[in-house]
């Protein structure tokens, strides 16, 4: 790890004023310190935000839940409000990382973790995300784990988070603050597709700090399911994951959310596919058509064509499980 200065501000105001191009905020540190040990990022100054008052999970006046950015992944997954009203989020969090890492990692930090693309993680090779303009060895290299949707000529990396797939499905809102004030960002807009600026994972400005994640009232607790497919039974990143949430009356779908993880630079969602499910019977035929629609623009690389088939089957299974109550 490179030498760096360390400070621990006592207020959000102080924290955002300390932020600069060579600084990073640190909370759980589970991804940032790993990146620093690999020499992939060399901040001159770490701003420890763990002393800020962002540790609460509370109900909002509109019936939703406000989650402080510093709530640990474990505390969030096992919080009674989340387990009971947003089981999709609990399932997604518990599908990710290890118990130790979930105890350390923060809610805000989970949104900001970097891709686990092998080439991004190897400082000795080019990578457009790490060094803009240097090239993308993944596009023609070992790309089994890479994107099948929304990639660009410059970058085929995927976003590694499970939590974010569920937050996208629940239409969470990200509350941030910078030197010029506070703003909110819809979850769908928070992360970016790589385009020609793959070095930017999300829309945050360098002085902006995530304060909280807000969940709207609709938690789809009756009919939701998070399905994660990976190379081993536990503690591995998703090859494909699916967050499925349905609102069903009788056997007719009234509202649907369908988001894929492990396949793109951000949680992959298509509003047209979701609205296409509305008014249909919750049947295998319906789910199969939705899977085809969501994957119709998939562009697999040399080694990851299997992800298209895998994603198709995972979508059908996740929606079927959600329709049956999600506890399958």
């Amino acid at each position: 790890m490179n030498p760096f200065h360390y400070s621990k501000p006592a207020s959000v105001q102080d924290a955002v004023h300390l932020a600069g191009p060579a600084s990073r905020f640190i909370a759980g540190g589970t991804n940032l310190l790993d990146l620093m040990k690999e020499n992939l990022t060399r901040p001159e100054h770490l701003i420890d935000i763990t002393g800020l008052p962002l540790h609460d999970v509370r109900e909002t006046a509109s019936g939703g839940v406000m989650i402080g950015a510093l709530v640990s992944n474990a505390d969030l997954a096992w919080h009674p409000l989340i387990e009971q009203r947003y089981p999709l989020l609990s399932q997604a969090i518990l599908a990710g990382a290890s118990p130790q890492l979930r105890n350390m990692a923060s809610t805000g930090g989970n949104l900001l973790q970097r891709t686990r693309c092998y080439y991004f993680y190897d400082a000795s090779v080019p990578c457009n995300k790490r060094e803009p303009g240097s090239g993308c060895p993944a596009r023609t290299g070992l790309n089994r784990i890479h994107a099948i949707l929304g990639a660009s000529a410059q970058c085929v990396a995927t976003h590694p988070s499970d939590m974010c797939v569920a937050l996208a499905a629940l239409e969470a809102v990200v509350h941030v603050q910078g030197r010029n004030g506070a703003r909110t960002i819809e979850f769908a807009d928070f992360h970016r597709l790589p385009g020609d600026a793959p070095e930017r994972d999300n829309q945050l400005a360098e002085d902006e700090l995530i304060l909280a994640i807000e969940l709207p009232a609709a938690g789809f607790a009756e009919h939701s399911h998070y399905l994660k497919i990976r190379d081993r039974a536990s503690y591995a990143f998703a090859l494909v994951s699916v967050a499925a949430a349905l609102d069903i009356t009788g056997s007719i779908i009234r509202q649907a959310r369908l988001v894929l993880g492990g396949v793109a630079h951000k949680p992959w969602r298509d509003g047209t596919v979701e609205s296409g499910l509305v008014g249909k019977a919750a049947s295998r035929e319906t789910f199969s058509a939705a899977a085809d629609a969501l994957l119709q623009n998939a562009e697999p690389l040399e080694h990851n064509a299997f992800k298209v088939t895998l994603a198709r089957r995972a979508i059908i299974r996740a929606l079927s499980n959600a329709a049956q109550g999600g506890h399958v």
Binding site: L33, D48, P99, N103, A233
Partner: protein, 177 residues
């Protein structure tokens, strides 16, 4: 106790003074900000029971309890541990009386080379504190952050299953004693 890391601080980088409790004993440390908790424990305080495996949070050999919760010491900056109560494998026994989890690991032969064992046991005590594991399958899933390259997994699972009732769940703030 006082401890100072031997490495030289580059000019203009300040050491930070912090207090923490390790295995019930108060420490005051003067450390450089880029020092991990794992390196402080092993290199500075000679608490070498906690092991360095991958040093990247993937193997769990460095697992310790921070305020009763299991964490990877290799991905923890010591400077961020001001006021923390830490328990390492050295702090689990009471005098000559082993912790029930340590007893169970011996009884079930839950190790071969032993390198991952301190992390496995601290992780298992953390699992007990969480109070979430109801079945052998739960134990298996909730121990996934600890790798054992000798493959003693089935015995580790059996040991934890037997010891769990004797380990009372505690909600943080515990020192593991």
């Amino acid at each position: 106790m006082n401890a100072t890391l031997p490495d030289a601080a580059p000019p203009s980088f300040a050491r930070h003074s912090l207090a923490m409790k390790i295995n019930g004993q108060p420490y005051r440390l003067e450390i450089l900000p880029w020092t991990t908790l794992l390196d402080v424990l092993r290199e500075q305080l000679d608490l070498i029971g906690t092991k360095k495996g991958c040093d990247h949070g993937q193997c769990g050999a460095c697992t310790v309890l921070r305020d009763g919760k299991r964490v990877n010491a290799c991905l923890t900056l010591a400077v961020m541990c001001e006021g923390a109560e830490l328990t390492t494998i050295e702090g689990l026994a009471s005098g000559d009386e082993l912790h029930p989890m340590q007893q169970a690991f011996i009884k079930h032969d839950a190790f071969q080379c032993g390198y991952c064992t301190p992390g496995q046991i601290c992780s298992a005590v953390g699992l007990a504190n969480e109070g979430r594991a109801q079945t052998a399958a739960d134990i298996q899933e909730l121990m996934s952050g600890n790798l054992c390259r000798c493959g003693a997994y089935s015995n580790i699972r059996d040991a934890i299953e037997e010891a769990l009732p004797a380990c009372h769940p505690r909600n943080a703030q515990g020192d593991g004693q």
